[in-house]
């Protein structure tokens, strides 16, 4: 017999055998397909997730740059301003008076503005000071909430850079040294000032100085949260603090221009001493962290889903094989008087128990592996309590689902034929 004929016989044998047990062949095929698919998908999904994480990272640094005083630079030339003049009554400054104009002159910059927080620099206690005569809404305020308020001095450009707004459109007041204040919504509530279009008559005291409430601050779409903030003119806060060492220049750029602007804005603002400034591109670490965490979570969930489906197929396949191998036993049980549901129940339960015990072992292994990997990499392992429960529950559910077809098949075995099967 020639080799080709032998191969032909072999192929015919394989086709006959695979065709004779179609459901088992299909289950095996599906299991292999799923396992290879899981491998391909995990690589593809990982790559996609990595790209998405990269995009998230890029997006988070896309359009905002923060310029602050470099460490040690605040005291370097105390008493002189950025342009070199030494006005005796001018506050010490790393940032020039026209820092915003210099920053917005950089290509790609949309808006810029300075902010200096009063908190931690001296008397910053905020209290309600006055209400319109005869107005019932005025009151002593919420002392607890007041303690958590932030007092910050800003220039008008800061609101544009932070994408906040004040109403009724009196932003320019922040560029003066008038004793005016703009309240965030929560700050207003804490101070007992009703948020209206006309806050005439309301005043607050900050560190003993009375400020007239000129309006209220709100974030625009995507704007920084100012709800718990009291905004004062930058000049007033700078005079109170005495130094702009903690001032931050917030620069909003066109989308994607953040990296480029960060590289040149220091030179634009302080061409004589750019080393006295530091530029940072990360605007919100919290949202960046959330984004990365979400992407990684989705990646893990998809891979887990593939593996679960694979597990279900493997269990189903093994149980179909078991049904075939135990056909004489099934016939015996039926001959003894067991009903079809009773025979099916045996396989349902076997699937559930297999799945549950597998889930227990899987949870234990997974938790141990997580701790071991964390220890090996000097990470802090983070284990949620529900992880210990999800394995057995999911395992039982998968086991029961995977047993559905084998159990149905076992119940349909003809006892007359089964009892003679060997």
């Amino acid at each position: 017999m020639r080799a080709t004929e032998r191969w032909g016989d072999l192929v015919r044998d394989v086709v006959v055998e695979l065709s004779a047990r179609r459901s088992r062949s299909l289950l095996m095929l599906a299991a292999v397909a799923l396992s290879t698919g899981a491998l391909v998908a995990s690589v593809g999904v990982s790559t996609t997730a990595a790209d998405q994480i990269g995009a998230d990272l890029a997006a988070s640094t896309l359009d905002q740059v923060t310029v602050s005083v470099a460490q040690g630079a605040a005291d370097a030339d105390a008493g002189s301003s950025a342009d070199g003049s030494a006005a005796p009554d001018a506050p010490a400054g790393v940032f020039p008076g026209d820092a915003e104009a210099r920053a917005t002159a950089v290509q790609g910059v949309v808006a810029a503005g300075r902010r200096l927080d009063l908190s931690g620099h001296g008397p910053d206690t905020v209290t309600p000071a006055a209400t319109p005569a005869g107005t019932a809404e005025g009151g002593g305020g919420d002392t607890d909430a007041i303690r958590h308020l932030t007092v910050a001095g800003v220039v008008p450009g800061y609101l544009d850079a932070a994408q906040d707004t004040v109403d009724p459109g009196r932003t320019w007041l922040l560029g003066t040294d008038q004793t005016v204040a703009f309240l965030g919504v929560d700050a207003a509530k804490a101070l007992g000032v009703p948020v209206t279009t006309d806050p005439t008559g309301y005043a607050i005291s900050v560190g003993g100085t009375t400020y007239r409430v000129a309006g209220f601050a709100r974030p625009e779409d995507g704007g920084a949260d100012v709800s718990g903030t009291v905004l004062l003119p930058y000049a007033r806060v700078l005079a109170a603090v005495g130094s702009d060492g903690d001032t931050q220049l917030l620069v909003r750029t066109a989308p994607g221009a953040g990296a480029g602007v960060a590289g040149v804005v220091r030179v634009a603002v302080r061409p004589d001493a750019p080393e006295r400034l530091a530029a940072s591109q990360v605007e919100s670490l919290a949202s960046l962290r959330r984004g990365v965490s979400n992407q990684l979570g989705r990646l893990g969930a998809w891979i887990g889903a593939f593996l679960l489906a694979l597990t279900a197929l493997l269990i189903a396949n093994a149980m179909v094989v078991a049904v075939v191998a135990r056909t004489p036993e099934i016939g015996l049980r039926r001959a003894l008087g067991a009903s079809r549901p009773a025979v099916s129940a045996v396989f349902w339960c076997e699937g559930a128990v297999t799945g549950f015990l597998g889930g227990v072992a899987g949870s234990a292994f997974g938790l141990t592996a997580t701790v071991a990997v964390a220890a090996a990499n000097d990470w802090s392992a983070r284990l949620a309590p529900w992880l210990a429960v999800v394995g057995p529950v999911l395992g039982a559910v998968v086991g029961i689902a995977a047993s559905a077809y084998p159990a149905w098949r076992a119940g349909r075995v003809s006892p007359a034929l089964a009892i003679r099967a060997d």
Partner: protein, 231 residues
């Protein structure tokens, strides 16, 4: 005369395969009555329809036509669940291949029948002990089924079949794989059951069983050709 515990009238069974294969008439109008305590042997050549008749008598298969009543129940009127219950409560089976579950002990093999018949758990131990004593397997109660000899396996199968004291005991070639001594032991156990009122129907091509039975019926090409009172 008491009513027959097992009554088949004009029972036929035809298998109609798909395609151009002609139908197979395995049973052609079989009449059979067996009373309590009676020992009946049904003999015939291979292909005569003996297994088909046993399957119908044992409610493992349904006749194509005719009627079959078991313990007063007309089986055509019984649901699938009812047929399962009849097999559990009324019938005991002994097959040529003992179908002992090798991974279970002797006692567990017997208890399987009690579990299927829903005998209360508290009553099972005593029943198992009693029946193992009757078949001479008390000393092997804890042994795994796969470790038994051929004769022991067949005695275990008998124990499993009679533990619930069924009114009807069906045996398919019960001595086919046994030597003479073991075969005699099996027949002795069948005699005991018959003495207790169980109707014993044995399918066989062994002439010794035909001689042992009270009646020997010959099945030939689907016809129950003759009925001969032996004892």
């Amino acid at each position: 005369m008491t009513a027959p515990v097992l009554r088949a009238a004009a029972v036929t069974r035809t298998y109609a395969p798909a395609g151009d294969v002609p139908p197979v008439h395995a049973l052609r109008g079989v009449d059979l009555e067996v009373r309590a305590g009676e020992r009946v042997a049904i003999v015939g050549r291979s292909g005569a329809g003996k297994s088909t008749l046993l399957n119908i008598l044992g409610l493992l298969d349904e006749p194509s036509s005719g009627s079959y009543a078991l313990a007063g129940h007309e089986t055509a009127d019984v649901t699938h669940a009812g047929r399962d219950a009849l097999r559990a409560d009324v019938l005991g089976f002994v097959f040529q291949d003992s179908h002992v579950l090798g991974h279970r002990t002797v006692a567990e093999n017997v208890e399987l029948k009690l579990a299927v018949a829903r005998v209360p758990r508290a009553d099972r131990a005593a029943l198992v002990t009693d029946v193992l004593a009757r078949v001479g397997l008390t000393h092997r109660a804890g042994a795994l089924g796969r470790l038994l000899s051929g004769g022991e396996k067949q005695r275990l199968a008998i124990a499993r079949a009679i533990v619930t004291q069924p009114p009807v005991l069906l045996a398919d070639e019960p001595t086919g794989n046994l030597d003479g001594a073991n075969a005699d032991t099996v027949l002795g156990l069948f005699d005991e059951q018959a003495a207790r009122g169980t109707a014993v129907v044995v399918i066989t091509h062994d002439p010794r069983l035909a001689a042992w039975a009270d009646r020997a019926l010959v099945l030939d090409a689907g016809h129950l050709a003759s009925a001969v009172a032996v004892a």
